[in-house]
Structures are given as structure tokens and as C-alpha cells.
């Protein structure tokens, strides 16, 4: 019998928490002052500390690449290493790469605009153009690991990470891949940060040294998280968790969606708020009420990591490291007024 469960067997991340294989140790995180571009006064964000990719993954060449591509190559390498996978022993044509991103390679896209501003559209620099495409990071992951399976990049407002995980599991379920490297991430650039600022979306903590508080604006973040996903039972190895199913939609109806995911029943579940705020929504509160006595609302440690459209995988890694009780767990996310996502996991 084929199980619909997919095992998460490897984790890698390049994030404000550092460049890590495996779970992220619990630690407090504060936004850092931005120094990469001129700002009018203090501006803060959760930033990835600069590092040399080749010092983490020997032989990696990332010159002329967007940071998002470089981070994806590093995070995927760490996840594969963590999973104990020797790709030379795998059928590389059966290894998929699924990458979720909200904004893609914003850095090199801006570089191309910069080139157009300086030299006119007829004199642009060719190198940033193909490297600025949203699928460049997934392509470089495939190139670096020489994997030739489906190579997909997805973008969803608020749910790029969830979507990547759901679609990677779907590729495994339908026999279109034996192994999937799932990634999600974004970089923070000047144009992106100043857009958030002009739109009035930033937290007061971006402008002063106060601690981050919930509810008023947000602190932008950056980084890439990577998971190795494979059919449950394919190898006799440790699994951090098993991914069962997932849903996301633009118009919540969260309770009904979760009921469907759970086959009509509402068993004992743990609800983990993916990005801090979502548990305040009426739908998820209602679900918590229905499962009271057996469910627990886990405060989002992930709030400290900030938000991007692609942060779900990082939040998932943080949740897995927070000693949740074994059994079924839901990782929830919200976006906009009614956007809703749920990932159903089984924890060891």
C-alpha cells in the first residue's frame, strides 16, 4: 500500500538565525540595523548575516548570482547533508526541486533596472537579466546537484512556502519524483523595504531599538529554508515529521477546510500559529474551541523571524524545534483579510 505521507528527512536554512543544517536552536532574535543601503535614520529588519557560500559548501561558485540563488544552493546542500543522502546513489532524473518565493530575484531585477537607468534600455547589462528570473534559484539548485526532475518555482501572496510544500508532496504522490528538495525564501532589498515603508506596513520596531511587539505592522525578513521530502518509508532514516496534506485558499473557511483535511473528523490536534497573528482570526479560534481539552495553541516562536510570503518553511522548522507533543499538528497561516493556509503534519 502506498502511503500518502511524505517524510521530512532533511533541513537546511540560511536565515537571520544563521546558516544551519537541521533544526534551529531556540534563541531570541532582534532586528538588525540596515547598512546595505542609505537610510534616513535607523531602519531595522531581520537580516541574513553576510557569509561566503563556498565557506559553507566547498566548491560553490555564486559570483554574479542573486543572493536568493546563492542561499538556495547553500540551504539545499545543508538539507541534503542533514538527510544523509548521497545523490550519486540516487536516480537524479527522479529528484524534483520546488521553490516558493514571493518576490523572486529582486536584487538582480533591481540591478537590471539600474543598468537601464544608467545606460538606457538599449544599453543594458545582459548578465542580470536571466539571473533575475524568478526560477533562477531553483535552476541553480538543479545545476549544482545535477538533479533533472521537475523544477518548479511557485509564488503565492502569503503562502509561497505552503504552496511549494504542497506541490512537492503532490509530485511524490503521483510518482513524478522519488525525492523532492523543497525551498522557500526571499531577499530584502532597498526597493522592497522602502515599498513596505511607503505603504505604511512596517512595525515601530523597524524605526527604534524597542523589542518587536505583535499586532502593529511587521518587521521584514529574508532567508531561504530547505527541506528534503521523500515518500514515507523509502529509507530507514529519522524523519523530523511526516507531511500529510495541505490546503490554501484566498477566502478562509478555515474550519471547513481543516475538517475536510482531517476526513470530516476533528481529532486531537495541536494548532501552531505560523506567523504569530493568525490565531486571532475567528475561524481558527472557532476550531480551537471545538477541539478544546485536547488541543493546544502554541505561541509562534516564528514571530521573531519576521514575515515574508515565503516564510512558512522557516516557521515549520522553528515549530519542529519547539518540542511539540507527538501526534497530528496543524501549521496555520493567514494572509490578507481571509487568506488561509493549513499544513497537516504528524510528529514523532
Amino acid at each position: 500500500m502506498t502511503s500518502n505521507l511524505a517524510a521530512i528527512t532533511g533541513i537546511g536554512s540560511v536565515s537571520p538565525y544563521g546558516t544551519l543544517a537541521g533544526l534551529i536552536p531556540r534563541c531570541a532574535l532582534e532586528p538588525e540595523p540596515i547598512t546595505a543601503w542609505p537610510t534616513s535614520g535607523l531602519r531595522r529588519a531581520f537580516l541574513v548575516k553576510p557569509f561566503r557560500p563556498a565557506s559553507v559548501v566547498p566548491g560553490l561558485k555564486t559570483r554574479r548570482l542573486d543572493r536568493l540563488s546563492a542561499w538556495a544552493m547553500v540551504a539545499s546542500s545543508l538539507a541534503i547533508q542533514d538527510a544523509g543522502i548521497d545523490l550519486s546513489q540516487e536516480d537524479r532524473s527522479r529528484v524534483a526541486v520546488v521553490f516558493g518565493t514571493g518576490l523572486g530575484c529582486a536584487e538582480l531585477t533591481e540591478a537590471f533596472f539600474h543598468s537601464a537607468a544608467a545606460h538606457g534600455w538599449s544599453g543594458t547589462d545582459p548578465s542580470p537579466f536571466p539571473e533575475g528570473l524568478a526560477n533562477a534559484p531553483a535552476s541553480h539548485v538543479a545545476l549544482w546537484h545535477e538533479v533533472r526532475g521537475p523544477n518548479v518555482t511557485v509564488g503565492c501572496k502569503g503562502f509561497a512556502g505552503e504552496s511549494a510544500l504542497i506541490q512537492a508532496a503532490s509530485l511524490l504522490r503521483h510518482g513524478q519524483a522519488d525525492l523532492a528538495i523543497v525551498l522557500a525564501g526571499d531577499t530584502l532589498t532597498r526597493a522592497v523595504y522602502e515599498w513596505y515603508e511607503a505603504a505604511g506596513l512596517l512595525s515601530p520596531a523597524c524605526y527604534n531599538s524597542e523589542p518587536v511587539t505583535d499586532g502593529i505592522g511587521f518587521v521584514p525578513s529574508e532567508g531561504v529554508a530547505a527541506l528534503v521530502l521523500e515518500p514515507a518509508g523509502r529509507r530507514e532514516v529519522r524523519a523530523y515529521a511526516h507531511f500529510g496534506s495541505g490546503r490554501w485558499s484566498t477566502d478562509g473557511e478555515a474550519v471547513e477546510t481543516i475538517r475536510q483535511m482531517l476526513g470530516g473528523a476533528v481529532p486531537s490536534i495541536t494548532i501552531c500559529a505560523g506567523d504569530g497573528a493568525p490565531c486571532a482570526t475567528s475561524d481558527t479560534s472557532a476550531l480551537a474551541g471545538e477541539t478544546s481539552g485536547t488541543s493546544a495553541i502554541v505561541p509562534a516562536q516564528a514571530v521573531a523571524a519576521g514575515l515574508t510570503d515565503a516564510s512558512a518553511l522557516l516557521h515549520l522548522i522553528l515549530a519542529l524545534g519547539s518540542q511539540l507533543p507527538s501526534g497530528k499538528a496543524l501549521l496555520l497561516g493567514t494572509s490578507g483579510e481571509n487568506g488561509f493556509a493549513a499544513l497537516l503534519l504528524e510528529l514523532p
Binding site: 504552496s163 506541490q167 522602502e194 511607503a198
Partner: protein, 405 residues
């Protein structure tokens, strides 16, 4: 025996192309042999080339700076796709939207953003820049039709919308949504024209895919949306089944950022996998709508892939590139060409490649050129490839189910 729960069918098609709005316009225009590529000079100072534009886009309700031209093209195509669908609103409301775009809102952003973003936002750029994420195209379609299920952008360069269709089919197999709207949309804009020009990939004249004297590609614009659902669901609502999506596959060359693998191995694997899923052999495919950009490297790699996959056929495989009619529509190309493959199986009309006078030599390929060939085509394949080594293949069969209202 057909398992109707696992058979994916096409029940709606929407098109915005340089021929106009609707599949009838596209079909009539292409069958007449009219090329929509024209010499253009005004897209940015210094640009000289051949492009194909969409003219006369109708006004939209709630239009505003929040929508990019790619959004608008997509919304018109999506409306066209569901216009004759005749299904319950509740089914459509719970459906998903997977839309590909490589340009999305880049067409709305000025180079000054790079110098001083805040200043550009204050000058009116804030709303325009909000349309930058590729996800905006799927959101625009969803908002326009009241579709509230999962929305997603698919990015795989020029293979994007073929992959959107493949991934949407996976979602239906998962039972995640009742129906899926899948396709792609891309507007012509200085960003992409300048990018391809800087790579010296553009032919200043109308392109000549698969010709020995080809010089590069031309860019076009457009949008295409397919409505997909399971056969079980289509039969239950007595829907008009336009085609069956028999097989699909996605692979990557893992070879180079921009160049295809010379022998076309990744593309050949992709076609083989799609045929395996469809449980068909090379002899069963009646027509291939090629990626056929007209660039020196792509067309050789693609021809090599056909020689690998179809060398066992009794007769050479009929192949054409319809990019010779209205250029390369990038993120929309895969979906537009999927629709042209559907036209082939429904009407038995095989469109020739325009301006193909001296084709690349191939023992396995029957290059369609000159005039339209009319013959029964049980199965047609649409092939797409893109920067980053992306490959996708889709196989369509004439819909033999439903009442065909």
C-alpha cells in the same frame, strides 16, 4: 477502461492573442496564414525589431493602477474561458487559479526605481509596484471571477504556463479543488525586450524557427487560460469536453542557466515521460507543437530531442512552431501553444511554420511548412522549454466524452 476520477479534461478555453480575443479569432487568423509580427520602433528609444501586440483590449470593471498589463490580459482571457462554461457559481468559487507570468508587473515599473525607490513611490509608483509579484496575475484572475480557491504563480521561464497546466492537473488528481483555471499571461515591455536584446537573442526581422538561416526570436504578448476538471465532474454536469489532457511531464536539463543541453536529452526525457503517463507510443502522436523559438541553440537541441524520441516511428513526426505567427509570448507561450495543439486534435488542422524554407536536417521530423495540412490527429503534443533548463510536455486527445452540447 477510463477512470473518470483520474482523467483530466479541458472544458473551457480563453485566449487573448495578437489576433484578438477568443479561440475563434486565433484559429481563423492562423489558418488564414496571417503573420501578426510587425516591425516596431517605438517600444523604447533605440529599439528596432519585430513584435506582435494585442490591440483593443476591452475596459475592465474596477480597473486601476493596481493592475499591470499582464493582469489585464489574463483577466480578459479568463473571462473568455469561463464565458461559455455554464457551470454553477459555487463550483467556480471554490476552484483554483494557477497562472504563469515572467513579466507580471515589471511592465509598470520605471528604471528610476533603482536610483531612489522612495522618491519613485511618492511620484505614483507605489500602486504600480504593487503589481510586481508574479502572484498578482493569479490574484487578478481570481478577483475578476470571484474564484477563491488556491491561487498561485508558476515560474519556469518560457515553460511556465505549460507547467501551470501540469501542476493544476496534479491538484485535481489530489481532489484539492473542483476545477482549476490554468494558463499564463505576459505583456510586451521594455524590460524583456531590452533583456533579450542584450543577450543578442532577437531577430530584427520576423523569426524563422527551425530554418538553417534563423537568427533569433521575436517577442509577442498575450494570455491563455484553460479550465480543467476531472472527467467525472465534467460528466456529472454534462459539460462540453473540449479535449482530454492525457499526459504531462516536467524535467530539467541541469546543464546551463540559459543554454539548452545540446542533445536535447532533458526535453527528450520529458516527452517520453508524458507519453508514458498517457500510455502511448511515438507512432500514436499525430502532431507536435514545438517550442521552436528560432534561436540557434534551442532549435538544434529541440530537433535532436525529436530525433531521440521519434526515431522508432514508421513515418516522421509532423512538427511546427507557431511562434512564427505571433512571436514568443514567454509566460503565456505554453498555454497558447497547448490551445493550438487542442485545435489540431479537434479540427485536424496542422499549421505550418511560416518562413521555413531551408529546415534543419532531421530524419525523424516532418517539418510542416507551406500550407495547412488537414488530417485526423488523435493525439497532439505541446512542448515547452525555458531558461534554467526547464522542460514541459503536454499531450492532448480529442474529447470523446460528454454530450458536447
Amino acid at each position: 477502461m477510463t477512470d473518470s476520477r483520474k482523467t483530466i479534461v479541458v472544458t473551457g478555453i480563453g485566449v487573448v492573442s495578437p489576433y484578438g480575443i477568443g479561440v475563434d479569432c486565433l484559429q481563423a487568423g492562423m489558418l488564414s496564414g496571417k503573420c501578426r509580427l510587425a516591425h516596431t520602433k517605438d517600444l523604447y528609444p533605440g529599439f528596432v525589431g519585430s513584435t506582435a501586440h494585442v490591440r483593443g483590449l476591452p475596459p475592465l470593471q474596477n480597473d486601476g493602477p493596481q493592475y499591470s498589463r499582464s493582469d489585464r490580459l489574463a483577466m480578459v482571457a479568463a473571462r473568455d474561458a469561463v464565458g461559455r462554461l455554464d457551470c454553477e457559481n459555487t463550483a467556480l468559487r471554490g476552484s483554483g487559479v494557477f497562472m504563469a507570468s515572467t513579466v507580471a508587473g515589471l511592465s509598470e515599473i520605471d528604471p528610476e526605481i533603482a536610483e531612489n525607490p522612495s522618491a519613485w513611490y511618492q511620484r505614483g509608483g507605489l500602486a504600480r509596484a504593487a503589481s510586481y509579484p508574479a502572484a498578482c496575475v493569479a490574484d487578478a484572475v481570481g478577483e475578476c471571477l470571484g474564484v477563491r480557491g488556491p491561487r498561485c504563480a508558476i515560474s519556469a521561464a518560457c515553460a511556465s504556463s505549460a507547467m501551470a497546466i501540469a501542476l493544476a492537473a496534479n491538484m485535481l488528481l489530489d481532489g484539492a479543488t473542483p476545477m482549476m483555471l490554468a494558463g499564463g499571461s505576459d505583456a510586451l515591455c521594455p524590460f524583456t525586450l531590452s533583456g533579450f536584446n542584450s543577450l543578442q537573442a532577437l531577430d530584427p526581422d520576423p523569426c524563422r524557427p527551425f530554418d538553417q538561416n534563423r537568427k533569433g526570436l521575436n517577442l509577442g504578448e498575450g494570455a491563455a487560460v484553460l479550465v480543467l476538471e476531472t472527467l467525472e465532474r465534467a460528466e456529472a454536469r454534462n459539460a462540453n469536453v473540449l479535449a482530454v489532457l492525457r499526459g504531462w511531464a516536467m524535467t530539467n536539463d541541469a546543464f546551463h542557466s540559459t543554454a539548452p543541453q545540446t542533445q536535447g536529452n532533458g526535453l527528450a526525457d520529458c516527452m517520453r515521460l508524458a507519453m508514458e503517463m498517457a500510455r502511448v507510443r511515438g507512432d500514436d502522436i499525430g502532431y507536435v507543437n514545438a517550442h521552436g523559438t528560432g534561436t540557434p541553440l534551442n532549435d538544434v537541441a529541440e530537433t535532436n530531442a525529436y530525433d531521440t524520441v521519434f526515431r522508432e516511428r514508421k513515418r516522421p513526426i509532423p512538427v511546427s512552431s507557431t511562434k512564427s505567427y505571433f512571436g514568443h509570448c514567454l509566460g503565456a507561450a505554453g498555454a497558447l501553444e497547448a490551445i493550438i495543439a487542442i485545435i489540431a486534435v479537434r479540427c485536424g488542422a496542422l499549421l505550418p511554420t511560416l518562413r521555413l524554407t531551408d529546415p534543419i536536417e532531421s530524419p525523424s521530423v516532418d517539418w510542416l511548412r507551406g500550407k495547412v495540412v488537414c488530417q485526423e490527429v488523435p493525439l497532439a503534443m505541446s512542448v515547452s522549454a525555458g531558461f534554467g533548463g526547464s522542460n514541459a510536455a503536454l499531450i492532448f486527445e480529442h474529447g470523446q466524452f460528454g454530450s458536447g452540447r
